[in-house]
């Protein structure tokens, strides 16, 4: 037996046309590859200079995480893990076909348990092979041209009378390896699933910048907003596929004979949803004054960060309407887009004696990472409203008197606040709470150094 040439086992005779497709069997392979073969790769219908396969690969990441490009015409997707999510191989192929049609590419598509098998079958537009057992039979019927081996190899095989893959498989292994080459034998083994086919998935360049050039100069905001919307939609699509988020966006408006206008947007927290990104940008655009008509619109999203997934409540607390509420960050962003970062802020509290330094405007870190201030052991009675800075009463000479102030305020002990000698903001003040004749309660103080009176707050 040892002397006999070792033949590859082959179950020939089964025509691919009669092969039932979509049959699930307990012996289904652990991998299922979908191959796309472009019929005419010379035509490059995409506007960018990117190869159509690369652009397609970027889209295919929406279907699976393992995508390979097989030069010159093939794209391979391992979809076994995605079948359940999308509802079967037919649904996955349909999605992919829809995208290919959208790009106006003519293609053939086929699914098989190994990458080479899928690719070769796709090149010849054969039916899907879902079971490893029938793989050899289907491959055997393929002509040699499906392998895209070099012409001299194909010529050599043709001279030997080999017309199909099946003929190759019928040749003695060692003779095939010696005369044609071990790599081709290895490929055949890989196609049949006898040898592992390890593939490196392609890494799509993080093209988080986009550009739209207009056929004519644009002067209307509505047209710019539409262009912005489309560019942000493709960005969001990209981010979702790669599970990334962005925080900084920069929109570049290119003009014909002027330096470009930049519009930067910093989000409160990284986001990837279309509305979170586009709403603030469009609100900003509406208020932007552009110096000249725009000929091109660019978008730069900087370096994306990994997506932070948040636990959402199963029964979202959307009020009676049942609508999904806008996230707290999105609210701030939409308000800030209109009023600026200065107009929308939170309140912070510090452990400090000087009344004007106790509170601070918080414009950053409104949502997370704020150290919760330890509660005061006893918060003294303070007015609800504080003036931005103390207002001198009648030029500082005013002293609350019986005509204006109702109660016997002088009998109250003043609250002496004396602090800040160490940082130059030294104060020495006597604070009184006084009630005016019309019922307003005010927080006034007398500066102990200058003896002038100031109004500092109003009780609610």
């Amino acid at each position: 037996m040892a002397g006999l040439p070792q033949y590859l086992s082959l179950s020939c005779g089964e025509s691919p046309a009669t092969l039932p497709t979509g049959v699930s069997s307990p012996r289904r392979a652990k991998q299922l590859w979908v191959a796309v073969s472009l019929r005419d790769c010379a035509v490059c219908p995409t506007a960018s200079d990117q190869h159509p396969l690369t652009a397609l690969a970027a889209h295919a990441y929406g279907l699976t995480s393992l995508v390979c490009v097989e030069e010159p015409d093939g794209l391979l997707l391992e979809v076994h893990g995605s079948l359940k999510l999308f509802g079967g191989i037919a649904a996955v192929k349909k999605k992919l076909a829809a995208e290919l049609d959208r790009r106006r590419l003519s293609f053939d598509m086929c699914a098989a348990p190994t990458p080479y098998a899928a690719l070769w079958l796709a090149r010849e537009a054969r039916a899907d092979v879902l079971e490893s057992s029938s793989l050899a039979g289907c491959l055997g019927a393929l002509p040699l041209v499906a392998t895209r081996w070099p012409d001299d190899i194909k010529l050599k095989l043709t001279e030997m009378g080999v017309q199909s893959v099946g003929d190759c498989l019928r040749l003695p292994r060692d003779g095939f390896a010696r005369r044609i080459g071990a790599p081709y034998l290895h490929q055949l083994d890989q196609a049949l699933g006898r040898q592992p086919d390890l593939r490196r998935e392609i890494v799509v360049q993080p093209s988080l910048s986009g550009m739209i050039e207009f056929p004519a100069e644009i002067t209307q905001t509505a047209a710019l907003a539409a262009a912005l919307q489309s560019i942000v939609t493709s960005l969001a699509d990209d981010l979702r596929k790669r599970q990334r988020q962005v925080q900084n966006l920069c929109i570049v408006f290119h003009h014909a004979r002027r330096p470009p206008t930049l519009c930067r947007l910093q989000l409160i927290e990284p986001a990837h949803e279309v509305r979170r990104l586009s709403d603030p940008l469009i609100a900003r655009l509406e208020r932007l004054v552009l110096p000249a008509p725009v000929i091109a619109l660019g978008l730069d999203a900087g370096v994306p960060v990994a997506m932070r997934l948040e636990a959402v409540e199963l029964f979202a607390d959307g009020g009676r309407s049942g609508q999904v509420p806008v996230s707290p960050a999105a609210l701030i962003e939409s308000l800030r887009a209109r009023f600026g970062a200065e107009g929308v802020y939170g309140l912070g509290w510090m452990s400090e004696h000087r009344p004007e330094r106790v509170w601070i405007k918080l414009t950053e870190r409104l949502l997370h990472g704020r150290a919760r201030a330890a509660r005061l052991p006893r918060v003294p009675n303070r007015p609800l409203w504080i003036l931005p800075s103390p207002v001198p009463l009648a030029g500082g000479r005013f002293e609350p008197c019986r005509e204006t102030v109702a109660d016997e305020w002088r009998t109250n002990e003043p609250e002496r606040i004396e602090s800040g000698w160490w940082d130059g903001g030294d104060i020495r003040r006597d604070y009184y709470a006084v009630t005016t004749r019309c019922g307003q309660r005010l927080w006034v103080y007398q500066d102990c150094v200058t003896r002038s009176w100031y109004l500092h707050g109003i009780f609610g």
Partner: protein
Amino acid sequence: MPALALLCRNSRAKRWIVWVAPPFVPYAPALLRHGIDLDRVLMVHPTSTKKDALWAVEQVLRSGSSIAVLAWLKDASDTVLRRLQLAAEEHDCWAVLFRPVEALQQSSPAALRVKLKGTVGKARVEIVKCRGKRPGIVDLKL
């Protein structure tokens, strides 16, 4: 104030208490004293026009991510107020609008309208309108 503190305590998810165009800045220690969670307080100062303030209130109400809105509005038409009211009811948000006294002449769809007048030692609360109840006057001792 106690009502706001109660809202702070009762809602689990982080929802804002938004102050739109207040006349002054609320003083943080006073808010703390009343038990209001400062992390939820969000101040909004609309830039110029009165439409901005109304827009801000409506945004806040419609977002569904705030629990209360306190807004100081100069003037607002009946229809706008009705719109705000519907948005507030739809998204479970407590909306309080502070309006000038002259606005009392105007009709309003609000569920409760109150006129406050302070005198020495007491405050007069005039309930101008209350859905399903009679108007009345209450004096509060301070």
